[in-house]
């Protein structure tokens, strides 16, 4: 089988597109690329539909070997955007993946173990099927996503220690939780451990009355655990949860979640 062979997978490389909204009632998060503006930008550069699947990677990306006969044009976005054309035997990273559609999308749902490439992170030895540059997936009706400027917001895909500011609005029960919301805005936070599901925020302990019944959760929710630790939920968040939601990151700022690494300073400002 020819395609892109994974030589080294990297720590968390997955196939992602713009997500599969509409299945939250079955516990399936919308998912999609952590930085959707970047995915759209890369697909436009590649001449693909905006929602074509792409490879998402964190920190060290994968090493890939192209085994096809035709030449393969690749767009790599992150610290700026670059293009590379691969001939057979060349090694690098990707676009125009041909993955089967599951629940209306081609991206990997790690919590569900489906979609993308076998529903999991890539491993060495995997061979990714690659389409003819014209991916078959169409943007959803009415889809409008503003591309992010190459030299503006995306001039440093991995900002490491640089502070990230996220705009938030209150969650539900805004009046009853106003104090905790203000505490969130006032404090300096540092990103702790995290992944596509969410991220722990290190800082002062917050106190909020716990829920009696679980509630649905939107992406970008800031929950407060029983132990008082805030958790920022990202693209692969649980759809229902038992912790109170004191704030929600505005939709436009969700892409910034892709830049948070352990140790990144985080500030929340009112939207």
């Amino acid at each position: 089988m020819t395609g892109l062979e994974v030589v080294v997978a990297g720590p968390a490389t997955t196939v992602q597109d713009l997500g599969r909204p509409g299945y939250g009632a079955y516990g399936v998060p919308e998912g999609g690329a952590m930085d959707q503006g970047l995915a759209v930008l890369a697909n436009r550069r590649a001449g693909n539909p905006e929602s074509a699947p792409a490879l998402e990677f964190v920190l060290t990306g994968p090493t890939l070997r192209w085994t096809g006969r035709r030449r393969l044009r690749c767009v790599v976005a992150g610290d700026g955007v670059s293009e590379v054309t691969l001939a057979r035997g060349d090694e690098l990273a990707v676009e125009a993946l041909r993955d089967p559609e599951v629940m209306g999308a081609r991206g990997t749902c790690l919590p569900g173990g489906f979609g993308g490439f076998l529903g999991r992170e890539l491993q060495a030895g995997d061979v990714l099927p690659v389409g003819r540059g014209r991916a078959t997936s169409k943007p959803r009706a009415g889809e409008r996503r503003d591309p992010m400027p190459v030299d503006g917001d995306h001039s440093g895909g991995d900002l490491g220690g640089q502070a990230v500011t996220l705009r938030v609005l209150p969650g539900d029960r805004a009046a009853a939780r106003a104090r905790t919301f203000r505490s969130l805005l006032a404090a300096q936070w540092v990103a702790g451990d995290g992944n596509r599901v969410g991220l722990r925020l290190q800082g002062p302990s917050l106190s909020e009355r716990q829920l009696h019944l679980s509630q649905p959760i939107p992406p970008g929710a800031v929950q407060v655990s029983g132990a008082g630790q805030p958790i920022l939920l990202l693209r692969d968040h649980p759809t229902v949860g038992g912790y109170p939601v004191i704030a929600v990151v505005v939709r436009q700022d969700l892409d910034l979640g892709a830049r948070l690494r352990p140790g990144t300073p985080v500030r929340f400002v009112p939207a």
């Binding site: 509409g22 939250g24 919308e30 509630q215 649905p216």
Partner: protein, 222 residues
């Protein structure tokens, strides 16, 4: 905004961030109003409102996620009360029978559960299989099904240390609930058995046959 949804139950609405509205059923009691919430979810989905991207139900709350670039919260808020407050349609709940292997590798917590409850293994299984449970919610993780209420003699607080990986199909208990894991995921409930047939099918629409209000019985495999 508050609308009436039948005797003493009221639905209120509030924002949750810039891209979601949360509807809340108040006065429905400690178990919530899962049937009314589910009926509202179906009605809102069926209305195909422009800009709505997902509708997610929980026992007493419903989240309507929308794209703020396509519809304003105010416009949406004007449409939702009538859809949410309608009469609960007479949907015939489905009956599900799940064949479960209890104990051993399939239910690694069964012995500890029996010890903590002061019951024999057989008694735990007999009580767990004795009644039909109602689907209270689906979600949290893909295909997870919340069932209740659990007989009072089987109730335990959840485990202190959640497991990082619970196999798909695991049948578990915690507090007043029992549940089935649709996929392999983390979890802090007590694992007493495993359903033999998969309950989550990503290639089908809908991916699970369990709907809120359905009835589920467990059958012990010998």
């Amino acid at each position: 905004v508050t609308v009436s949804a039948g005797a003493a139950v009221r639905v209120s609405m509030e924002s949750m961030g810039d891209a979601a509205l949360l509807l809340r059923w108040a006065g429905a009691g400690p178990a919530g109003a899962p049937l009314a919430v589910e009926a509202a979810r179906r009605a809102i989905r069926a209305a195909r409102l422009a800009g709505v991207v997902d509708v997610i139900s929980a026992p007493a709350t419903l989240l309507v996620r929308f794209d703020p670039a396509r519809v304003s919260a105010a416009a949406l808020a004007g449409r939702l009360p009538a859809l949410a407050g309608g009469a609960v349609p007479k949907r015939q709940p489905r009956q599900h029978r799940l064949a479960v292997r209890y104990g051993g590798d399939a239910g690694p917590d069964l012995e500890e559960v029996a010890d903590l409850l002061g019951l024999s293994l057989d008694q735990v299984v007999a009580r767990h299989t004795a009644r039909a449970y109602t689907v209270m919610a689906t979600g949290f993780a893909p295909g997870f099904v919340y069932l209740g209420p659990l007989p009072p003699s089987l109730r335990l607080p959840r485990r202190e240390e959640p497991r990082p990986a619970v196999p798909a199909g695991s049948v578990a208990i915690a507090d007043a609930q029992t549940g089935v894991y649709g996929v392999r995921s983390g979890g802090g409930w007590w694992l007493i058995g495993r359903a033999q047939a998969p309950t989550f099918h990503p290639d089908r629409n809908p991916p699970t046959r369990f709907a809120i209000g359905d009835r589920v019985t467990f059958e012990a495999l010998g």
